[in-house]
Homo-oligomer: 204 residues x 4
DNA sequence: AATGAATGAGTATTCATTCAT
DNA sequence: AATGAATGAATACTCATTCAT
């Protein structure tokens, strides 16, 4: 990779990281492009060489970080065979990511929801990819007979994500650490695991 | 009630209902005060006789509708004794409300989150009141021995709300009716009910 | 005078006095009609029964207080024969009025100048009447030979008023009492008196 | 000076000059920022690159023009030794400036007073600098024995300025030229000169 | 005469985006 | 590629005034 290309990558990366910090701190709407530019050490106009507009910058963060999350999730699940156990690993991985990348999580969970585009027009394929992993776990659990056949994988997927995301939000937004990510992971895992397991497979 | 008082109430009510429709349709940010005023059949300035500013109008909708929701919930729960059954009634009531008051739900679930103030500064006491009902159900279930003692009522509450809210959002935002509120209610109820029940109390 | 008429006068008077206080305190522009109404103990609309509009209220204050000032000036000058001495009495009377009616002075000197209408369109006849007294003093002084014939009474009048008004403003606006109204009166009187006197009539 | 610097200076200068014309013609309050922008040939937003807000623009005009005035005054006084004569030169210079920069004078004398901030909060140091020249003339005249020792330089300064300013206002605001700046200068000079001179130094 | 709820015109300011250099 | 000065659209809010009661 040439020096120039390297610099190019650096600059784009600097903007993304600066944007995450600025968006997490001030919120997407209150954050000005010039704030991000200053934090990234570039000129305002430079941002537009890498991103179409302010919203696209937010969406790029979303896409890249969700993909990063999905890859990490697959790695965490690697070697875990039992579908019930995989549910627990999923929950643990999610809350662990929230804890380790707090600013990123705040942007993903809070600011991204603010984007009307995201909610109404944008199709968050990367989120769907991430959650499809859960859906697969359920289907596998059902075919193995450890999860109830009358669980709707599609609905369960959104319910599971809602639970993770809401607790993640409460964790990120609460200054006082009223929520332990570890405890949250186990609680959500316990509930969904037992909630979806067949009586035979259910832990006592 | 005197003619005057009646009219006065009507005007405020008209503004609130108009705001719900306009916010649901155009989104809080895109909605202009003059849009709300026109829809309510009042002058722009009149809105400021009843609400401090645009954001306060949104928050007022939240407060009033959440309170309405909580009262309805208590009525729905009235006469249902078993804590496990009460969880199911809660879920059913929630999705029923979403279906019946779609615009309100869209504002509460989607547009409200646009408000940075709501997310960062505002303390949504009315939401907490609504969810506290669930927390009480869990505590009662635990003292009756039908719910596991190692369920954390606080965490379970937010997980439950996250599941309800996420599915509610998917329902409200999806134009194609991929999600049936009835099915969603039963799924969430099933999962949480079984997920929190003691083995003895768990349905087979 | 009937009770009703009396009340009517009282209400108008209350508005005028309230307006003087409010205008002096907050400034004409920053003062809201509702501020004046509250201070006067009447409804907003009531003010419009007595005054055409906000500006007219200010102008009415000006007219009435300037007339009051002119009458007081004539009384103060009564019995003072020597034109040079009359100049001194004028200066003393002016600063004495400023001191005794500070709020009124602030409105007259400061806020009134803010009225574009006053400066561009409005013809402040009452001010002219007040200052015409000075012009007459000069003319009398000239015909008696105690004031120089090459003094232009018209120009001298405005110069004299400018001096009085500027010092009055400095007095009213300075929180720290850097200016003594008494000293100011004597200084202005001394300068104009000697400045306009013939060498023969000039005090040594 | 580089091309860039030149253009940059031009743009700011263009805004200042445009503002003077627009403020003089329509008045500060009636003038819209977009009026100034159009007159200056720039976009509305550009004005905010150089000035914090509308009021700051007015104050900047004041500062710059008062400084310009003071420098010109010192040049006019250069070589004039006698304090009494310097008073006359001051008066002539002032009215000459008013005549030659009518729009500037109108803004300084009339529109500036519209600013509540100017009157109540702002400390017009540049005006003080300008008038301090007069105060120095008086002190010098006293130490040379050509001006009465009982003249208060501070009070005389404000009286003198009041006279100049009031006549300047009457000149600027009167469409019909009822006031000759030359005559006004001589009148004010004559009165203050004789009014402050010692009997020995007083012109016959 | 008095009220005060309702009106709605009017505008400074922000900031994402562009583009000449 | 990078800059950053310049642009200009877009809108919540105020408050003098009105008028039905």
């Amino acid at each position: 990779m040439s020096e120039k290309a390297s610099r190019k990558g650096d600059k784009r990366e600097a903007i993304v990281e600066a944007a995450i910090e600025v968006f997490a701190q001030k919120g997407f709407h209150a954050a000005r492009i010039s704030d991000v530019a200053r934090a990234a050490g570039v000129a305002d106009g430079t941002i537009y060489l890498y991103f179409d507009n302010k919203e696209h910058l937010l969406l790029s963060i979303f896409e890249e970080k969700m993909e990063f999350l999905r890859v990490g999730l697959l790695a965490a699940l690697d070697g875990v065979d039992c579908p019930l156990e995989r549910v627990r690993v999923f929950a643990r991985f999610h809350f662990d990511s929230v804890r380790r990348h707090r600013a990123v999580s705040e942007v993903l969970q809070v600011e991204l929801r603010l984007s009307h585009k995201f909610l109404k027009d944008y199709r968050p394929e990367k989120l769907w990819d991430y959650l499809r992993v859960f859906e697969q776990i359920v289907r596998e659990g059902q075919s193995r007979g450890v999860m109830r056949a009358d669980v709707d994988p599609f609905l369960a997927k959104w319910a599971f994500f809602g639970a993770l995301d809401e607790l993640g939000q409460q964790y990120v937004l609460s200054r006082r650490e009223r929520i332990s990510p570890d405890a949250a992971a186990e609680q959500v895992a316990d509930i969904f695991l037992r909630g979806m397991a067949t009586p035979a497979a259910s832990p006592r």
